[in-house]
Point group: C2
Chain length 317, copies 2
DNA sequence: CTGTTAGCGCTTTCAT
DNA sequence: ATGAAAGCGCTAACAG
């Protein structure tokens, strides 16, 4: 039914090899043959067979998004879902699909399996830290800090958090607490460090509580903070989900936001603007980040890069 | 490097065809040969080449999730992202990837293009209505109402909404407004109808406002409702995003939830439980729905099915 | 139940 | 620049 390359070549009066060169844009071809081939392809309504192409080239057909986490219920994480969707949209432009794979903390075996799967064109990793080293020969990128040689599409969270802290400080907040992330997570490090530098530089007390990027823990963290340091006047959360939890926890405890306590999130998920009080946070170009990680993993772009984290001030701070 | 089928066959002392039959589980094979082949495969660490397999079988390598909507920014819709992620997880088990494709309202040409793409193993459609008819020969399923012959993984939203309305009524709410969805959207029909039947049966006034499944419109809808029917004592929203917006709009107008006005959502997204007041809504098995649609589209399951919508009562109603 | 023989559709050396 | 030919790795129709 559908015309194949041979048919196009025949009609163009050239060999399949030449037709292939023209249609795939790889390899030389005279203007004349190019002309013929293109015309023939158009007339025949030729559509290359992506699968055949990938088999011949030895490239895979899907990019795996590997998310390393302790939770089993990955789908309830908005950030994860958003990134997967973003990657799915980018991948579509390359004729590829995305698979979501939850990875345990000790993901060596899983990574080896992924590397051995020849349907995998590339691996995009998130939730990693220094200890994670993919078993793949290239075709890998991370969302988050780059790890030895592997390109990473990272958010400049140090700058973003510092900007938020600066804002709070300018507002007169002097007893600022941080709800951070798990220690095993690479992405939790930068915020923690940025917070530490800021408070010491500004001569503020350091008040840190560990969360896990979920609203549930954010809520618990709010209570803990109120218990330990009742005079806290601002809470900086490592992401929006946590901040939402903090908001809920504070409301439950009867603290007024932002009057008594200011709250900030991180990521600027759609909900940040839908809740009351609207969440002040830092916004990140998720789509561009996903796209960068994806193309870098596919080897279509040199490296990934550092993306801006811009404060978005709404009502909560 | 990696052993191929021929190597396994050779080592097992059988033909490639037999090895293929055993390893792919299709076609007959004597216990003896099966034994040999399996052993040989194990010893050689044989991993089938998914791409070659798909080329030979003529099946595609990815499932396209087509989302029909007027918005360009699909990624800011939590439901969409969640479904994509869920499909991506299910697809992974079949060695497939998912592509996300935004479809315009008039998506005929796009569907034709998707059908012509031989890398597409299946199409999962959402945001459709009766007018949409995929150009594919099978390999399609919808999330939402089934349309002529195409299986659909649908939520029993009529039952879910009715349950919510019944709850509100039992609470003494008598002036209940609905924030529905766009008329061109098939998924918006069932809730609208369910609401209509309920209010007429209960002898309540009908108060309907059209939303678009976003928080922004939900907020606007809340204001409109307050304007037109100041004595409204409950607002039922067609989804959680809308409900979040309604919550924000009511808060802004100084209405207390649930004291003055009760609010309900639909879907039970993770945020529903993170906001204050926590959103009363109806919960749906998103993963199972996505899985059903995916497997049905791939032709691995007969049809999709109707999934339960169970009320989850929290604080807002 | 098994082997033989063609493919699936495109790419890519390697000569020319 | 171009063509012939040899794959990429597996599946499936067809005899036997």
């Amino acid at each position: 039914m559908t015309a194949d390359l041979a048919a196009v070549a025949r009609r163009a009066g050239v060999s399949p090899a030449t037709a292939s060169r023209v249609l795939s844009g790889r390899g030389p071809a005279s203007a004349a043959s190019r002309q013929q081939v293109l015309a023939a392809a158009a007339e025949l309504g030729y559509r290359p067979h992506p699968v055949a192409r990938r088999l011949a080239r030895g490239t895979g057909t899907r990019v795996v998004f590997g998310f390393r986490d302790r939770r089993t219920d990955v789908l309830s994480d908005q950030w994860v879902c958003r990134v997967v969707a973003a990657v799915a949209e980018v991948a579509d432009r390359h004729g590829l699909g995305v698979s979501l794979r939850r990875l345990p903390l000790d993901c060596g075996p899983d990574l080896a399996e992924i590397a051995a799967d020849r349907s995998v064109a590339a691996l995009v990793l998130a939730g990693h830290d220094r200890s994670v080293r993919p078993a793949m020969r290239g075709r890998v990128a991370t969302i988050g800090a780059a790890v030895d040689g592997i390109p990473g599409a990272d958010v400049d969270s140090a700058a973003g958090l510092t900007a938020l802290l600066t804002h709070l400080h300018a507002q007169g907040r002097r007893r600022i607490a941080l709800v951070g992330g798990q220690r095993w997570l690479g992405a939790a490090r930068a915020p923690r460090d940025a917070y530490a530098s800021f408070v010491t530089a500004a001569g503020l007390p350091s008040r840190t509580v560990t969360g896990d990027f979920t609203a549930a823990r954010g809520r618990a963290a709010a209570r803990r903070i109120l218990d330990r340091w009742p005079d806290t006047d601002a809470v900086v959360a490592v992401n929006d989900a946590t901040a939402l939890g903090v908001l809920a926890g504070l409301a439950q405890a009867g603290a007024a936001v932002p009057h008594d306590i200011a709250v900030t999130g991180f990521d600027d998920l759609p909900t940040a603007d839908a809740v009351r009080p609207a969440l002040s946070t830092a916004t990140h170009p998720v789509e561009r980040i996903a796209a960068a990680a994806c193309t870098a993993a596919l080897g279509l772009a040199p490296g990934a890069g550092l993306f801006p984290s811009r404060p978005v001030l709404r009502e909560s701070a």
